[in-house]
């Protein structure tokens, strides 16, 4: 995997960023603010254009919920860079998870909307935070039920490491070293993934969360 985080060498690359950069509520650290997210998605859009000759085959498939606003931004970027209207799909991976057996409560299902056929398309899965690789594995299985893509590539805004499966992320917004028990979240204002977004790390936060 390419280490694209070199392009933002300092942990706080955006010196001009918001005050939230410091320490907001519940001990969480903002590791990527809205400006940083936009820059990362601009760069990723350029990389997608660079690596894919036939942009008309592209199909951005977001893993909800975090992947959805990121895919929209990527589509917007691709439109302005390459004048290409890229289809966006939403693919919930919950029914394909490998941990449903062991969980006491069944997780809530999220929306799936696949407006276009998958066959012969270059599908770019878009997720907010990549870690174990299990969500991407589930997303690939789900995708194959919709058809036979020409190829599949993966975008993650943040790669936090701790991979448990042989999954490669093709486009990484930022590599963020974490401890396994840390919780890494993409969040917006008032719990909505609209408007300005940021990525926060809550040290030890994974114990309470089951994500």
């Amino acid at each position: 995997m390419r280490d694209v985080s070199d392009e933002h060498p300092q942990p706080r690359a955006t010196g001009d960023s918001t005050p939230a950069e410091s320490h907001p509520a519940n001990g969480a650290n903002v590791v990527l603010d809205d400006v940083g997210i936009r820059r990362a998605l601009t760069r990723i859009a350029h990389e997608i254009v660079e690596r894919n000759e036939d942009l008309s085959r592209l199909y951005l498939v977001a893993v909800p919920n975090g992947g959805v606003p990121l895919a929209r931004q990527l589509a917007e970027n691709l439109r302005s860079i390459a004048d290409e209207d890229v289809t966006i799909g939403i693919l919930d991976t919950t029914l394909y998870r490998d941990d449903l057996v062991t969980r006491a409560e069944r997780p809530r299902l999220r929306r799936t909307e696949m407006p276009s056929v998958v066959d012969e398309r270059v599908v770019i899965l878009v997720d907010d935070v990549a870690s174990t690789g299990r969500t991407i594995r589930a997303a690939m299985d789900a995708l194959m039920d919709f058809g036979r893509p020409r190829s599949v590539q993966v975008v993650a805004l943040v790669d936090r490491g701790h991979r448990e499966l042989p999954i490669r992320i093709d486009y990484v917004g930022k590599n963020i070293p974490t401890r396994e028990e840390d919780l890494v979240l993409l969040e917006g204002e008032d719990g909505h993934l609209e408007g300005p977004l940021r990525v926060v790390v809550q040290p030890g936060g994974r114990k309470e969360e089951t994500s």
């Binding site: 029914l95 006491a104 409560e105 069944r106 299902l109 999220r110 929306r111 299985d141 789900a142 919709f146």
Partner: protein
């Protein structure tokens, strides 16, 4: 979900109903795919334990289980050979030893699913017990109304027919009331439970009054063999007084929908043209039944009983 079993709507919280409906709405998308199967319940076993003949409900559960990749076993038996309480529980214990992950029970005696749940480790889903409840039917009706009307809260729902003997009516009364609708029941006096108004519904013997301003009209199936002559003088008279037609429907709201749990006695509960065309949504109900039962199986199958529940048994 708080409980392990789905025995009736009466014991559900509004939040439980909302979770089931939301899950079912997500499941509907699967029905539109070419490959309609997901691996969610792979390696799980669901037993359809039907003591009363049923093709529609059993098939709906069977398709739902199979779309989630569960192995579905149909265990049908007539209730006459199992009329003794001991033998029902023996059957349940035998089944339990086979370690199913969910058991779907239908029986013509009220309370049997609950009794079976008391001896089974696996979650029990009631698929209709006597005149008690038929929770998945009510939930699929709620789902259908929610999708047709965009809401349930504040609607007026009129249920027409044999209210006193109908588990569909009872489950729907609980369900629609919990979701904030106004519920009316209508039928000949012999078909209305004596103190039905204590449930929180309004009872009518006049169709015109019952339908006035209704958003949803639900006709119940008349058991022709059993009821004609006993509860009402003749089928023809019932059809003329309580049968729904485009003419009687004019008292309801202009955009009212017509529902029926099926199978319809054409020309009795519904006129022929109503049975097949909008505003009736009968086939949507059937379609939603699969998604709804997938939701229930997803939420319950394979779940362990909570420790306190285990102790209480």
């Amino acid at each position: 979900m708080i409980a392990t079993d789905l025995i009736g709507i009466e014991s559900l919280e509004r939040g439980d109903i909302e979770l089931i409906l939301e899950t079912a709405e997500r499941m509907q998308e699967l029905g539109e795919r070419q490959v309609k199967k997901v691996p969610t319940l792979r390696g799980r076993t669901i037993v359809n334990l039907f003591f009363e003949p049923s093709t529609r409900t059993r098939t709906s559960f069977e398709i739902a289980g199979k779309r989630l990749s569960a192995d579905v076993i149909n265990f049908s038996t007539s209730s006459s050979s199992l009329s003794k309480r001991e033998s029902i529980l023996d059957t349940a214990r035998t089944l339990d030893a086979m370690q199913p992950d969910a058991v779907v029970v239908r029986h013509d005696v009220a309370g049997v699913p609950k009794r079976i749940a008391d001896v089974l480790a696996a979650p029990v889903i009631n698929a209709g017990d006597g005149a008690h409840e038929h929770p998945t039917q009510a939930l699929l009706d709620l789902l259908t109304v929610k999708q047709e009307k965009g809401r349930i809260d504040g609607l007026t729902v009129t249920i027409v027919g044999d209210i006193v003997h109908s588990r569909v009516a009872r489950s729907n009364i609980y369900g629609f009331l919990k979701m904030g609708a106004e519920v009316r029941v209508a039928g000949p006096p012999t078909m209305l439970p004596p103190a039905v108004e204590t449930l929180g519904v309004k009872a009518f013997t006049s169709m015109r009054e019952a339908l006035e301003g209704a958003d949803v009209v639900m006709a119940l199936r008349i058991q022709l063999e059993r009821e004609a002559g006993a509860l009402f003088p003749s089928i023809r008279e019932y059809a003329e007084t309580f049968g729904l037609s485009r003419a009687s429907l004019r008292f309801a709201k202009d955009d009212a929908i017509v529902m029926h749990p099926g199978p319809v006695n054409r020309g009795v509960e519904l006129s022929h043209d109503l049975a097949d065309h909008r505003p009736s949504v009968i086939l949507d109900q059937v379609r939603n039944g699969v998604a709804l039962r997938m939701a229930v199986l997803y939420l319950l199958a394979g779940r362990e009983r909570a420790a306190e529940e285990e102790e209480a048994r």
